[in-house]
Symmetry: C2
Subunit: 430 residues, 2 copies
Amino acid sequence: MAIPIVFASLSEPKSYQSFLKMAKADLSEATAKILPILAAVHLEGDTALRKFTNQFDGIALESITLDPQSIKTKIPNNVAEAFLVAKANIETFHKAQMRQDWSIKVDGNTLGIKYTPVPSLAVYAPGGTALYPSSVLMGTIPAIIAGVKDIQLVTPPQKEGLPEILIWLAQILGIKRIVTVGGAQGIAAAAYGTESVPKSEFIVGPGNVYVAAAKSYLSGQGLIGIDSPAGPSEVCIIADETANPMWIACDMLSQAEHGEDSSAILLTTSKMLAEAVSKELEIAFQIRPKRLAMKQKAIYENSGILVFSKMEECIAFSNLLAPEHLEIQTKDPYFEFASIEHAGSVFLGRYSPVAMGDYISGTNHILPTAGGSRIYSSLGVDTFLKRVTYQEVTKESLNKLYPYVKLMSELEGLDEEHGTSVKVRYEENI
Amino acid sequence: MAIPIVFASLSEPKSYQSFLKMAKADLSEATAKILPILAAVHLEGDTALRKFTNQFDGIALESITLDPQSIKTKIPNNVAEAFLVAKANIETFHKAQMRQDWSIKVDGNTLGIKYTPVPSLAVYAPGGTALYPSSVLMGTIPAIIAGVKDIQLVTPPQKEGLPEILIWLAQILGIKRIVTVGGAQGIAAAAYGTESVPKSEFIVGPGNVYVAAAKSYLSGQGLIGIDSPAGPSEVCIIADETANPMWIACDMLSQAEHGEDSSAILLTTSKMLAEAVSKELEIAFQIRPKRLAMKQKAIYENSGILVFSKMEECIAFSNLLAPEHLEIQTKDPYFEFASIEHAGSVFLGRYSPVAMGDYISGTNHILPTAGGSRIYSSLGVDTFLKRVTYQEVTKESLNKLYPYVKLMSELEGLDEEHGTSVKVRYEENI
């Protein structure tokens, strides 16, 4: 077995089409399973939360929420330092995203935008083997900067108690409440609210297929806002002959490490690089055999190397793919980047592996997957801000514009009331 | 009958709760009906479009699309002038919303955001009595400014031919293609693409319940992006004793004119104003009896006047309501506006009736309804822009930050590949 290497050409869609079909999580089965859970939490509130937690986690909850500030935590100094550096970098990059209110004069009137935060947020943090404390920083910091007032952390309870790192992160982020309910029932608690859990208008953060199905269903009902629907992780790498094949293999395996449905696509003009990366992948499988079957399935079945004759074709294919992560490892990566239209987060140059953005550089790692970057953005301060438009019309401008409103409202059959509401003001001094 | 007047207090939720339940379009029945239509268009393409157009519109389509530039139109000069003034004002306000790419240094690395437009857009324009040419301007102009390249207009065919105003608007907006298919089948054509109709990644614009259901369903499937789900229209008016009761009645009736499920809520501290507005509504029903039953149902059953003892309570109630349109007609409307958190579009002062924004002032009239302004914004340039984040990490910064990435990836069980992808670069010169 080896990673597929394909000599592709943009003018022959058959040569690349199979690599455009990125894994999309199929949520229909999970949705059918969670609907009764959502309904029960909606109807029975805390009672349902206790019942499901007993059933799924084997835990009899005493209190459903806890105040992280009331708990003593002891985190190793070096771990604390790492997270504090990440927090500072994420804060710096996201503070630069904050919006300023503004207004302009248009045809004599004042028109403007005032930015206001969504009122409340639940950040979901999975438990068990999928404990990703870094995602708590990514989900919470942009909301704090946007000014979201009511932020709660939702996470499954653990028999041995919640991970100290989660509680400590809640403390340093100023989160006032942890809801110790996981899965679809945790999402339902936040979306509907219960006796113990205040309703959240927005829910973000990774989770298993039941969490994803619950978020997606409740968002479709207009009940909550969510980050973009999350599928399997993917990376696309555009590289030329100047790139280091061993490093590229490592970057591809970083995605493969997330699961067997993850995808890593290398686009290059260099046949030599393609073959060298394929070899480096095999070497890596030998020297780093942890979770080998999973990584091999991701690389052999869901990944590939496409060799195009021109760099322009690599870029065009990447824009068709609209990847979650895009690395550009070429001589002048900014040159290729200028033509990139759709990507969640882009990593330029030799020293910018995706893992730097996953953890520490300051960009957000909650990103649209499965081609979603054609229409969605990464999580950011804008995710939690609304644009409230406003206007103050002057008497002079109303007088000038009334004849137009009269004509347009007549044309739309709305002159009787829409037209009249302007006319009465127009006639004020007549 | 008369509009309900209630003396309300924030400390007694029972006094106002019934006015918080705004009409939300129930799409479940319509969704069941449109699913076979969507499936047929997906499978059979143009054949299905012809079949449904025959069935629902009684029209045998020759060509499914037409090029507006190929048609001669003759619009009265004064109507053309009105729409050109509206277009210019909308362009001015929306151009001010355009984003500039930026980057900053964070911990030695370059982190930035590049804004790119969504690739394609379909603007839906209903036919028949719901012909709203103004909505074509509102849906199209922000996308053009954002840089969306492929914009098509989707609208039902008419036995007497398409309204000239629609074709003319397509011409002046530079729209290259009109798809003459309406309803759910028109939305499906744009969402899936057919032999004649290119796929659109984004669909906006008002429509009947089947159009709304199709947009909502396809967006839930992750197939298209849409403007926020549209329900019945609503206005909230905050006014004090300085406001003109007759004007306020006109503004309330402007919303009532949209349909019997529309809602108009007046919040005031003045009992005198409340009673005067109620009287003015009755007078208006007598002197402007067009669509009387509809307007009366909206005013008597879905609207109300709430008298609070303090202006702060009016504002707090408005924030609970999160109205689509909010008028503030008080002595110093900016003072109250400063405390407004959730509203789609706000109209300040005596001379700013909603109709000015509906048609001509320059703000967008495609707005979140049914409390959606708690988490959604009005249509704007941002609707059609994505934030592509990027970074270029330096060797020095990678070396400095590697120990943190190592610790964090170990904690998340992702050190084997995530950690290694940074480690190999760290060790480059060792």
